[in-house]
C-alpha cells in the first residue's frame, strides 16, 4: 500500500492562493512595463511639442528652410517625404506582393525555396545604412539615376520589401485552405484561385503591411543621407502636372530633394540654439505622421476584418 | 405535461421514411385482406361442400406465406437502414408481428380448406351439418374481428383495437356452445368419429383465428401506446 498523500481541500486552497498571487504579480509587472513604455513615448512626444511649440503654425508648413530659424519651414521636407513615400509604395507593393505570391502559391517546397525564404527574412535585419551604400552604388551611379527622388524611393522600397513580403505572405496564409480547395474543385487554375480569391481576401493584410512598412520608411535617415539627400533646398521638385502637353511628366522623379528626417538632422546639428525648436517641431510632426499612418493601417485591417469572417 | 398531437400531423423530413412506413402498412392491409378472404372462402367451401373453392384457398396459401416473408424482410430492412426509434420502431416491429399472426391465420384457413376438400370428395358431412350454424357464426365473428384488427393497424386506432379484444370472449363462448352441441351429436351417433374430430379441429381453428385477430389488435395497441403485451394464449 503506497503512502500517497491525498490532497485535502485545505491544501488545495492554500496552493491555489499562492498560484493566484503569482498570477496577480505578473499582471502588475506587465502593466508597469506597458505604462512605462507608453509613458516614455508620451513624454517624448510632449517634450517635442513643448520645445517646438513656438514654431507651429501655417507658416511652418509652407515655408522653405532659411537661415533664420523663425522663418525656416518644412515645405520642401514634407513634400520630399511625400513624393518619396509615393515612389516607395508604388515600387514595393507590386514587387513585394508578386514575390509573396510566388513564394506562397507557386514555389515548390524544396531547398532553393527555403534559401530564398531565409534570405527574405534576413533582409529585414540588414542595417539601413547598408541599403544606402547599395543604393549609392547601384541606383545613383550604375543606373545613373543620380541623387534624385527616384533613387530615394527605390532605396526605401528595397528596405521595406521584406516587411511587405512577410505581411503579404501572412495574409495569403490566412486564407483558409478550404477556400482554395473549393475554387480548385470548381475547375479553377492556380492563377484564377489567386486572382479571384486569395488576393482579394488578403487585401486588408497586404495594405496593412504596406502602411507599416511605409511608416518605418518615413523615418529612415541613414540611407537617404548616403545617397545624397540635400539638407538645404529652397525649391520643390517640379510638379508632375503641367499646363502643356503631355500634361503629365516625370521630371520630379529626377529632381533633387530633401526629406523630413534629413531636415531635422540638419537643424539639430546647427550651432544656433533657435533651430532646436524647429527640429523639435519637425520631430513632433514626423511622429504625428507616423502615428497617423499606423492608425490608418489599423482602421483598414478593422474594416477588412469585418467584411471577411472566416 | 404530454401534448397529444393529432394522428397525421408532421411528416418525416425524409420522404423515403414516409414511403417505407406507408408501404409497410399497405402491405399489412393487403395481407390482412387476403387472410380474411381465405378464412371466408374456406368456411364457405366447407359448408357448401365446394371442392373447387377449397382448391382455390389451398393454392393461395403460398401467396400468404410470401406476404409474410416480404413483410418480415421489409420491416427488417427498414429498421436496419433507417434506424427508426419510438413510434416508427414500434410500428416496424408491430407490422412484422402482425404479418406472423396473419400467416398463422392463413394456416388455419388452409386446414379448414383441406377438410372442406375431403368433405367435397365424399367425406361424411353429418357432423358438419350438426354444427353448421355455429361454424357460420364463428366464421362471421372471427372475420369481423380480423377485419377490424387490420383496419385498426392501418389507421393506428386503439379504440377499434380494444373492440376487437372485447369480442374475443363472445367467440370463446360460441366455441364452447358449438363444442357442446357436437359432443351431444357424437354421443348420439358413434359412426362419424373421424369427421367429428375433424369438425372439432375446424371449430378450434376458427377460435384460434379469433385469437390471432386479438394478437393483431394487441400489436396495434403496442404500436400506438407502447405497452408491450405478450401474445395471448388461447381461451
Amino acid at each position: 500500500m503506497a503512502a500517497t498523500a491525498e490532497l485535502t481541500l485545505a491544501e488545495i486552497r492554500k496552493g491555489l492562493h499562492w498560484r493566484k498571487q503569482l498570477d496577480k504579480v505578473f499582471v502588475i509587472v506587465g502593466l508597469l512595463v506597458l505604462f512605462s513604455c507608453l509613458g516614455l513615448l508620451a513624454m517624448l512626444f510632449l517634450d517635442l511639442v513643448h520645445n517646438g511649440a513656438e514654431r507651429f503654425g501655417w507658416d511652418f508648413f509652407v515655408n522653405f528652410p532659411s537661415r533664420k530659424a523663425e522663418r525656416a519651414g518644412i515645405l520642401s521636407a514634407w513634400v520630399g517625404t511625400t513624393l518619396i513615400m509615393f515612389v516607395t509604395a508604388l515600387v514595393s507593393l507590386p514587387v513585394g506582393v508578386a514575390a509573396a505570391i510566388y513564394l506562397e502559391e507557386y514555389a515548390a517546397k524544396n531547398w532553393l525555396t527555403g534559401i530564398i525564404e531565409i534570405n527574405v527574412t534576413n533582409l529585414a535585419g540588414v542595417p539601413s545604412i547598408v541599403y544606402g551604400l547599395l543604393a549609392l552604388g547601384l541606383f545613383v551611379y550604375t543606373f545613373g539615376f543620380g541623387q534624385s527622388v527616384l533613387s530615394a524611393g527605390l532605396t526605401l522600397a528595397l528596405l521595406i520589401l521584406p516587411i511587405v513580403i512577410v505581411a503579404t505572405r501572412e495574409s495569403l496564409r490566412a486564407v483558409p485552405k478550404a477556400i482554395r480547395e473549393a475554387a480548385y474543385g470548381l475547375g479553377a487554375t492556380r492563377w484564377e484561385v489567386t486572382k479571384d480569391h486569395v488576393l482579394p481576401y488578403s487585401t486588408g493584410g497586404i495594405l496593412t503591411g504596406l502602411i507599416l512598412g511605409l511608416s518605418r520608411a518615413i523615418g529612415e535617415t541613414a540611407p537617404l543621407i548616403t545617397i545624397g539627400a540635400l539638407s538645404f533646398i529652397a525649391f520643390l521638385p517640379p510638379s508632375p502636372v503641367s499646363g502643356e502637353f503631355p500634361f503629365l511628366n516625370f521630371e520630379w522623379l529626377k529632381s533633387e530633394y530633401t526629406a523630413m528626417p534629413i531636415q531635422m538632422f540638419n537643424w539639430v546639428s546647427r550651432p544656433d540654439q533657435a533651430f532646436q525648436a524647429n527640429a523639435a517641431a519637425a520631430g513632433a510632426i514626423l511622429l504625428a505622421m507616423t502615428l497617423l499612418m499606423n492608425a490608418v493601417a489599423i482602421w483598414i485591417r478593422y474594416r477588412f476584418r469585418k467584411k471577411i469572417n472566416w | 405535461m404530454a401534448e397529444v398531437l393529432p394522428a397525421a400531423d408532421l411528416a418525416h423530413t425524409s420522404r423515403v421514411v414516409e414511403q417505407s412506413l406507408a408501404g409497410l402498412r399497405l402491405r399489412a392491409v393487403e395481407m390482412g385482406g387476403l387472410a380474411i378472404d381465405q378464412v371466408a372462402c374456406a368456411v364457405k367451401a366447407l359448408l357448401e361442400r365446394d371442392g373447387r373453392l377449397a382448391e382455390v384457398v389451398l393454392s393461395r396459401e403460398a401467396l400468404v406465406n410470401d406476404y409474410d416473408r416480404l413483410l418480415d424482410r421489409d420491416s427488417l430492412n427498414f429498421i436496419a437502414l433507417q434506424q427508426p426509434v419510438a413510434n416508427d420502431l414500434r410500428l416496424a416491429r408491430a407490422i412484422a408481428r402482425i404479418g406472423l399472426e396473419l400467416e398463422r391465420v392463413g394456416d388455419e384457413a388452409k386446414k379448414i380448406a383441406r377438410f372442406a376438400l375431403q368433405v367435397s370428395r365424399g367425406g361424411d358431412t353429418d357432423p358438419v351439418t350438426a354444427v353448421a350454424r355455429y361454424l357460420r357464426h364463428m366464421a362471421g365473428l372471427s372475420v369481423t374481428m380480423l377485419r377490424n384488427a387490420v383496419r385498426a393497424a392501418d389507421e393506428s386506432d386503439p379504440v377499434l383495437a380494444r373492440m376487437v379484444l372485447a369480442r374475443d370472449k363472445e367467440l370463446d363462448a360460441e366455441f364452447a356452445t358449438a363444442l357442446r352441441q357436437l359432443m351431444s351429436f357424437v354421443m348420439q351417433d358413434h359412426q362419424f368419429l373421424k369427421a367429428s374430430i375433424d369438425t372439432v379441429f375446424a371449430l378450434k381453428g376458427l377460435e384460434r383465428i379469433g385469437d390471432h385477430a386479438t394478437n393483431v389488435a394487441e400489436q396495434v395497441l403496442y404500436m400506438v401506446e407502447g405497452e408491450s403485451k405478450g401474445p395471448s394464449t388461447g381461451g
Binding site: - | R15, V16, Q83
Partner: protein, 278 residues
Amino acid sequence: MNIVAPKPETASVAISIEERRPQRANPPKATAESLDFWYGQNHALKHINLTIPEQQVTALIGPSGCGKSTFLRCFNRMHDLQPDTRYGGAIHLRPDNVNLVGPEVDPIEVRMRIGMVFQKANPFPKSVFENVAYGLRLRGIRNRTDLAERVEKALRGAAIWDEVKDRLNDSALALSGGQMQRVCIARALATDPEILLFDEPTSALDPIATAKIEELITELRTRVTILIVTHNMQQAARVSDFTAFMYLGELVEVDVTSKIFTNPAKKATEDYITGRYG
C-alpha cells in the same frame, strides 16, 4: 350472414415496397480499375476495383485512415495539389472512357467534369449569387441573364432557393451552417457535373440540417451520380443504394446497402458495422 365472395386468383406477389432501393446496379458511370495511390512512400490505396453506377448513390465507409477520403479525392484529382503524390491503375469515366487519374489528363479538366462538396461548408466570402455563379464564370458564361437563370436552377436543385431568393446579394457567410452547405451544393451543381463527390458533408451539422441534406442527396440521385464518404455508417444506410467498406487502403466488400447492413458477406465488414472493431 354473408361471406365474402372469393377473389380472383392473384398471380405472383407484388414487388418489394422498397422500390427506391433497387437490387440492380445501373450501368456504370465510372470504374476504378486496380487503382493505387501513394503519398510519398505511403501506399495509401491498394488495387481498388470499384464500379460506380450512374444516377445512384454509392457510399464509402470504413474506420479512420482506411483511405475512403483518399479514394474519393482521386476522382477529382485533388491530390495533385499536394507534392509527392502518385497514382497507379486507372479510373475510367464513361461514356468517353477517359482515365481520370492518367498523367496525360489535365486535372483542371477533370475538376470541371466532377464536382465536390466538402466536409465543412466553405462558401466564398462573396454574395450567395456570386458563390453559385463562380463555376459558371470560370467556364466563360458572362451574360447576366444566363447566369441568373442557371444560378436559380442550381439553388432550386439544392432545395434552398426559397430560403435565399430574397438574399442573393447578401454574403453567403451570413447563412446558417446547413444553409451554407446547401449553397455549396448548389455551387457544385451549377456546372452540371457528371459525378458529385460528397466528402463527409454533414459531419459538422446538427441533426435537422443533416436530415435536410440527406433528403437532398436522395433526390439528387436522379439527376447526377453520387459518391459519398461518411464516417457515420447510419447515414450510409439511410442514404445510399450501394455501400463499399474499406479498410487499410483496400476495398473489403461492396454490395447493395440493405444487404451490407442486414447480412454482409465478410466478417470484417460485419465486425465494423456492429461496432466490434478493436
